[in-house]
Symmetry: C2
Subunit: 336 residues, 2 copies
Amino acid sequence: MQITLKDIARMAGVAESTVSRALNDKPGVGKETRLKILKIAKENNYRPNQLARGLAAKKTNMIAVILAEMDSPGNIEIVKSIEKAAEKRGYQIILCNTNNQEDKEESYLSLLESNQVDGAIFIGGKLVGSHLLKASFSQDNRIVLVNRLAEENFFTSVLTDYSQGLYKAVEHLLKENFKKIALVCGNRDNLVEEEKISGYKNALRDSGLEVNEELIFSTANNRQAGYNVFLEIIEGDVIPDSFISTRELTTIGLVEAIKMGGYFIPDDFAVVGYGDNILTSVIDPPLTVLGEPVEKLGKSSLEFLLELINEKMDSQQIKVLTPELIIRESSISKYN
Amino acid sequence: MQITLKDIARMAGVAESTVSRALNDKPGVGKETRLKILKIAKENNYRPNQLARGLAAKKTNMIAVILAEMDSPGNIEIVKSIEKAAEKRGYQIILCNTNNQEDKEESYLSLLESNQVDGAIFIGGKLVGSHLLKASFSQDNRIVLVNRLAEENFFTSVLTDYSQGLYKAVEHLLKENFKKIALVCGNRDNLVEEEKISGYKNALRDSGLEVNEELIFSTANNRQAGYNVFLEIIEGDVIPDSFISTRELTTIGLVEAIKMGGYFIPDDFAVVGYGDNILTSVIDPPLTVLGEPVEKLGKSSLEFLLELINEKMDSQQIKVLTPELIIRESSISKYN
DNA sequence: TTGTAGGCGTTATCAC
DNA sequence: GTGATAACGCCTACAA
């Protein structure tokens, strides 16, 4: 059995409250008493019971990071950034994976509702469901969204400017003389994907080109889907000369399919992929990618959350960060 | 403010204890009363405060999964497997990342000590430190180790038989007529790495070959280290004709360096890498790898932990699973 | 079947 | 500076 405050109080011959004060560095304890208490605590390897502490203080110093998918190295990087920032501020992270399942999201949300964590950061995921919306009101809004859009902007959020990212990517490909750019993006029930599409369209239009809806493909975010969509595309009526893929795993599958089909990148098809991380960097040829500002996304989201928790935020905030186009071989025209 | 048991009791005109029983599916509540209580709870979107529940019942239905490194796709797969198994049994997972730092491990261990979780699974990591050992006694041993060795086997563990894995890999390379097999493994303060080395040595000896210690290289587990060790090796006295790399990230870097140096795989150097996952599968040429039984590792570890928690385990157990050698192009001799 | 009361380990609010 | 004492929200004997 663990040793408790009460035990220490008895050993030191003082009251529980005094021990509590001493152990929490609070004023109102004599120097001698404090030292004595600290010594006893250490000798007995005392560990405060966080449950009791949380119950009494309504504060746990833990925050939940709720991840829509764990397969994405980019997301993992964001988590690591949050973790780093949290550590500095004395917070612990607990990571929860929802696998894009709403019910799981709901069940993890109860960590917040039952005060097991002081706040929550949601990374990625589809449209914001009703339970989350409800939580945004009832839970004092101790929630920050990362790379996730809600139809109504009730949430403090940190977002990547996907529209601008896609715009840059199209611009780049056009400059390299690629004319028929296919867009491989996600399902449109995810608002983030809609934004990508709009960036893509705007760039084309601003260059005086028409948008061909047949060159926009919505797929699931996994390798197989990326692979399959290429097969589908080369069987189709309109054959593109280049691809922009907006998610990591899809990018992997797409590149794989192109190479498997005996085609060359960028000679036959140029590719702009997604995510500047180990996964995409391993691919041959070196891939031009749209890189998320993962470090900043993580750091900013934690800062926002702490402001919310400490009630230092006057109104709900939204921060938009710009993705970076990292140009490598896969999108450089050889005939330029 | 959240609604509490007491509120519901008041609304239903019954005692708190009755509400508690009703909500927890415990016997001793009239059907009518139970229905009424359930209805009120639902209408008011009641969520039990898990802190209070945990404090009173000394049971949280949460388990901590403590990860030495988050960069490894293999580890992530194990986590997902644990998660899947846990969900079926009504447990939630919280994921903690230690980055191989002992102090972090200790701080996460306090989740166990303060009863915030019912048990903990440690995945990977170096030698078991003193705090963990201490915990193994005082915390009723609600700890399971995955792919981690302790000097004294106090822990219930699920292990990959690295020795056998390496044995297989060497055997395979020898059969393919590679004679000078370099081993790129981790630091020897990690007992797991020692085991790999012993498998490597045994296979050589059993084939009547001598072990050349100069062909064994210990590096950190990251890409850069894998890259650097190759540069170091080709500058050295003994040039190998093949490599076995025992960790994912090192494998990536090693392959990169080989290709960067203008060498071909397997023509100039054969490679057996580590981890059958998306990261290694993306590499060109297709890599022969030692694949961990990630699915089983996760599932077994959770089962063990639940047995420990429910005190259904008579004595400490160890399960050893066999890794699989997945043979692809990178280790097939062209002159065979 | 239901209610009462005590306790889980801590923090916070008073007095003294 | 220190000590009682009452929360925090829930569970679990035990009594009714």
